[in-house]
Symmetry: C2
Subunit: 660 residues, 2 copies
């Protein structure tokens, strides 16, 4: 059943050799890798306004200047990362760049920052997408957590199907959002030219300041607005990390995609911020409510983009389209993380910093385990934070700027190694990355200081925890590698002794004896622990009849325990015959129905685990199929959907590749 | 750690041979087996009043007559069961009596009734005990579910320590409750003689009828009051079931204990009912509230016994003592079920009607698994029913009267087989049981008709479900017994082929090869599934160096699955060499720390399960200890508390018997 469901959801397995067919043309790479930065224009302006409004309306005229600063930083980062695309054609994620230029620890810091941020990207984007939906249909508000988790489920399934298909699926909403926003700009321009001035419904609200906006407080509020607006900068990493997924010439295609993304982000962000100022959008932080005057009693705050859209389009189909495409691209933006996280996890796993099972590609050639891990973590965050995007956003971007700074610093070192400023062509490149490093470091400091108490401390705990976990895993794998190197001492027993555990006289027990004797052991004995006198007597009598040549050892157990006396017996034997391997034969019933499992094999699992702790012992499981187990073993694996369809269509089905 | 905690809680293991030392003298048997029927006098009167009050105050004068009827039934049941004690000295629970006289199905009906009722006994007694506590301290009301579950936890631990000790622990509260109630009677008598008449605080409340008490409705209400009061009759079963736990002469001691219990129950129940009438206690069913006039606005209804106690003692230390001993005995009453349920489950398990692990005694000689099962079921009920004793009590007593009726009917058949009414001494005995059977059958019909809609339907579903489950388990075990009888065909392979699964060149893999070759198989091969080209190349090169004489089979896996290709390979081999046993060697890492488990053996478990489904294959687990696993294996088992204390006292500790 589960196999059926899996095939239906994720499709048939793909051959390893078809990996190159999954490469992305630019028109698909843009939605796959850039939906995150492009979509963040949907909430960046709003975050700036909210932060400034903590000081009432007095600081709101600074929105434009904060926006300009953010556009400046974005331009620097895009320029910097274009160079990374060329310098690291095999994928220049912050981890790779920092690790190869600044050392393992810097790499791991960048990696933990990125892992945390990918999870947050999913959580924030999905929560913001659901916000767009509930702005349009406030009745859905109570179900926002459920909606968010459902979105994650859909994203997960789509990504488990593979990169190519998800790229296609995501192209439409990304381009639709971009188009709708530009249409909104044209509409606004036309209305302005005809002398109209669109006004947001909230334009006449007055808002009490939460802090008095004077002196240092004003500076703090502006810096915090800047820090909040920097959410527009997330996700640039994904392109440079994903260079190998581009069609050749990979580096150039990636760099150009990055440039297109930069141009789109800058124009859209600038336009939306300008419109927000023009329409007079008012927004307050939902964590500090009750300061609005002039609003109706049951006022539910729509997002800033929704307010602008309503003001410009005056409601109607275009406004609905704006909300729909906003929701769609925001949810798709989470997809950027679905590409970044599993790939980074796989690289870290190959370097032994994460569990090995994150390394291998699943049967659709994607890193299925990484995808599932990301989805689970994001879903947990959404549930814990009640799908509240404003609160989640506070945790965000710290990781981004940690990795930006490390990556750009790494690039500076990279150019230095490439010959330094005096080598031909290096100076301008190194300069760009140096500017990038300094700017992102400054932003990081601003973000940290202005957001620490608002939840950023959580990330400041999570990152070191991840860092230490990864170091610990690496240390463990290193120890294992040393301990298990082929040259290590191997126990070479001279002979083997077989011990068949028998609880009562039965065909399975006799089967185990028959199998044990095939291995022609130096010694063969059946072992029974006496707990019930009657049982023991029956066994002894029957044994004489059915297996007279196999000695039956009876072990007393005055305290009715089974495992302890068996272990004692083996240890005693090992002490007498140190050079002999003891193989313990245990019958394991093969059972078909779930409820039958409660009735069998209860002792087997316990015995197996304890026996493996004794040195010089192997455990051989002798399956014995009960009727229902027989049926289960005989059941054919469910054929994949393609096979069934081919059969329906009368064609020869392709060979079923099977699966784990 | 868990072993330590277990020893501290339940004490050191007991030898099987010390079983007879756990036998109970009468003075301990009374609290162990009779706390249930004795304690139910604490709520039986209240249940009668509540049921009658559904018709307002008009029917309340009938309380006395209902009480008389119940005393009559109780006397009949005690007389009937005394005979069972003599007739079935090895334990005459309803299951045994019904099974041996009326057939397996009747026995199973009785058994499912009893199992359900034991669980309800625990739930009802604990809930009522907590009611007594919250009547005295209404502030604890919000924690009643938590208190109830805590009580169950304590009872469970005490019972896991063993019957003898729990008998001792429970003697004090039982005798204290009996003494306090008789002191209350003396007090009331003295106050009456001095001309005072104690009045309950609720005596002047007027209560609106919920039903108009006329004609059939009045009859229905009286019958329902009778049915509710019959809760006083529960638990008699436990004595006849527990005959083997008495000191010799077992039957006589048990019968006499039953007689003492009957006398105590009848006098206490009659006295309490009389006092309730005298003091004018008013109570309403909490499920039909809002019909009291004259009560203060924040009136929280105390239990009837609490109201009587307060009226007689006028508050003070004696009132507090009454509440404390009531709470204690009610909670102890649950203990009756802790003795009955596990023993019945063990008998059913021995007859293959329940999972075999309920049959064996744990290391304290009690049926630990049965105790844990009972505790879990009762705790779930308490949580689901919000520890509401009035609602739980509706589910109760149906099972009791089902088993009473079957048991007494069985006794009638028993006497018939013993010669029938004409044999010497049989007539009066058979007559008593016949009367018992008829009376309990009538009560059962009354209970069923008057309580069906109030929750009894739940029990009417649970009992058949249990019945069918037990039949299913028996059928399964029977099938297994036939399928695994020693004469069944056993596969006798002519030779063995060893297959060592190798994922990379490592000491564990070489260790597995070394162990495999000890069994001198006809063929030995190492098998590797190629998923990563680099890995495969490394393995092939290293293999030449470290194990040149063992052929290495490389299996292609274009879809990167591991399990499927291995199974295919084995199946192909089996098709060519049908008479050969294939033994698959799998390395299992032995790991010490929990978090390391996430990093290893992920594939092993899956492989093991799938391989056991292939015919003619055994799986041999080759343990390889990592450093932490080495430490875990070397760790001594935690010594039991007695050993540590003996060492502290400078004495030679007794030998540690070990445990599972």
């Amino acid at each position: 059943m589960t196999e059926w469901a899996k095939r239906l959801l994720v499709g048939r397995p793909l051959r390893t050799t078809s990996l190159h067919r999954q490469l992305l043309p630019k028109r698909l790479a843009l939605p796959v890798f850039c939906s995150d930065p492009i979509s963040s224009v949907a909430y960046a302006t709003e975050q700036i306004i909210m932060a400034l409004t903590l000081g009432g309306l007095a600081l709101l005229h600074l929105t434009g200047w904060v926006g300009v600063a953010i556009v400046g930083v974005l331009a620097v980062i895009v320029l910097s990362y274009r160079q990374t695309c060329y310098a690291y054609p095999n994928g220049g994620g912050a981890y790779v760049v920092a690790r190869s230029n600044l050392g393992v620890n810097a790499g791991l810091v960048a990696a933990s920052a990125l892992l945390v941020d990918y999870v947050l990207t999913v959580a924030v984007s999905v929560a913001a997408g659901v916000d767009a939906i509930t702005s349009y249909a406030p009745g859905l508000q109570p179900w926002s957590v459920a909606l968010s988790v459902a979105c994650i489920a859909v994203l997960t399934v789509v990504n488990l199907r593979g990169t190519r298909e998800s790229g296609r699926g995501f192209a439409v909403p990304t381009y639709a959002f971009i188009a709708t926003v530009y249409v909104m700009f044209l509409f606004a321009a036309w209305r302005l030219l005809t002398g109209e001035r669109p006004r947001a419904t909230s334009a006449d609200f007055t808002i009490e300041p939460y802090f008095q906006p004077a002196g240092l407080v004003a500076i703090f509020l502006v810096l915090r607005a800047f820090a909040s607006g920097c959410t527009a900068l997330t996700g640039v990493e994904a392109v440079s990390n994903g260079v190998p997924a581009f069609r050749p010439p990979k580096s150039r295609n990636a760099a150009n995609t990055l440039a297109v993304m930069g141009a789109l982000s800058i124009t859209m962000f600038s336009g939306i911020t300008a419109l927000a100022l023009l329409t007079g959008v008012r927004m307050i932080d939902p964590d500090h409510p009750g300061r609005i005057a002039g609003a109706p009693a049951d006022y539910v705050e729509p997002t800033a983009l929704a307010q602008i859209g309503q003001a410009v389009f005056g409601g109607g189909i275009l406004y609905a389209l704006l909300q729909a495409t906003t929701a769609a691209i925001l949810i798709m933006a989470a997809n950027t993380a679905y590409n970044g996280f599993p790939m980074l996890a796989s690289i870290l796993s190959a370097d032994s910093f994460l569990s090995r099972h994150l390394h291998k590609r699943g049967d659709r050639l994607v890193f299925s385990n990484g995808i599932l891990l990301l989805a689970t973590a994001a879903a947990v965050l959404l549930v814990v934070f009640d799908a509240n995007s404003s609160r989640l956003i506070q945790l965000y971007i710290i990781g981004v700027f940690v990795s930006f700074t490390l990556s750009q610093t790494g690039m500076v070192v990279h150019w230095q190694r490439a010959g330094g400023p005096r080598a031909p062509g290096v100076l301008p490149r190194q300069a760009i990355n140096a500017v990038g490093a300094v700017v992102t470091a400054v932003v990081l400091v601003i973000v940290l200081t202005t957001k620490f108490l608002n939840g950023a401390w959580l990330v400041c705990l999570a990152m070191p925890a991840l860092f230490l976990t990864m170091k610990g895993i690496r240390r463990h794998y290193d120890q294992v590698r040393v301990a298990t190197r082929p040259g290590a001492a191997v126990d070479r027993p001279a002979s083997g002794h077989a011990m068949v555990l028998v609880s009562r006289l039965s065909a399975p027990a006799l089967q185990a004896v028959a199998y044990a004797s095939v291995s022609r052991p130096a010694g063969l004995e059946a072992v029974h622990v006496c707990v019930d006198e009657e049982e023991t007597r029956e066994l002894r009598e029957g044994w004489q009849r059915y297996a007279p040549d196999v000695p039956l050892t009876l072990i007393d157990s005055p305290y009715r325990s089974i495992v302890g006396p068996i272990l004692d017996h083996i240890r005693k034997r090992r002490a007498r015959h140190a050079g002999q391997l003891v193989t313990v034969y245990i019958v394991e019933y093969v059972i078909g129905r779930w409820w039958e499992r409660a009735l069998h094999n209860r002792m087997t699992a316990r015995l197996r685990k304890r026996l493996l702790l004794v040195g010089g012992v192997t455990v051989t499981l002798v399956p014995y199929r009960l009727a229902s187990g027989e049926r289960r073993a005989a059941e054919p694996r469910p054929p994949r959907l393609a096979t069934r369809l081919a059969l329906l269509a009368g064609r020869t089905p392709p060979r079923d590749p099977g699966s784990d």
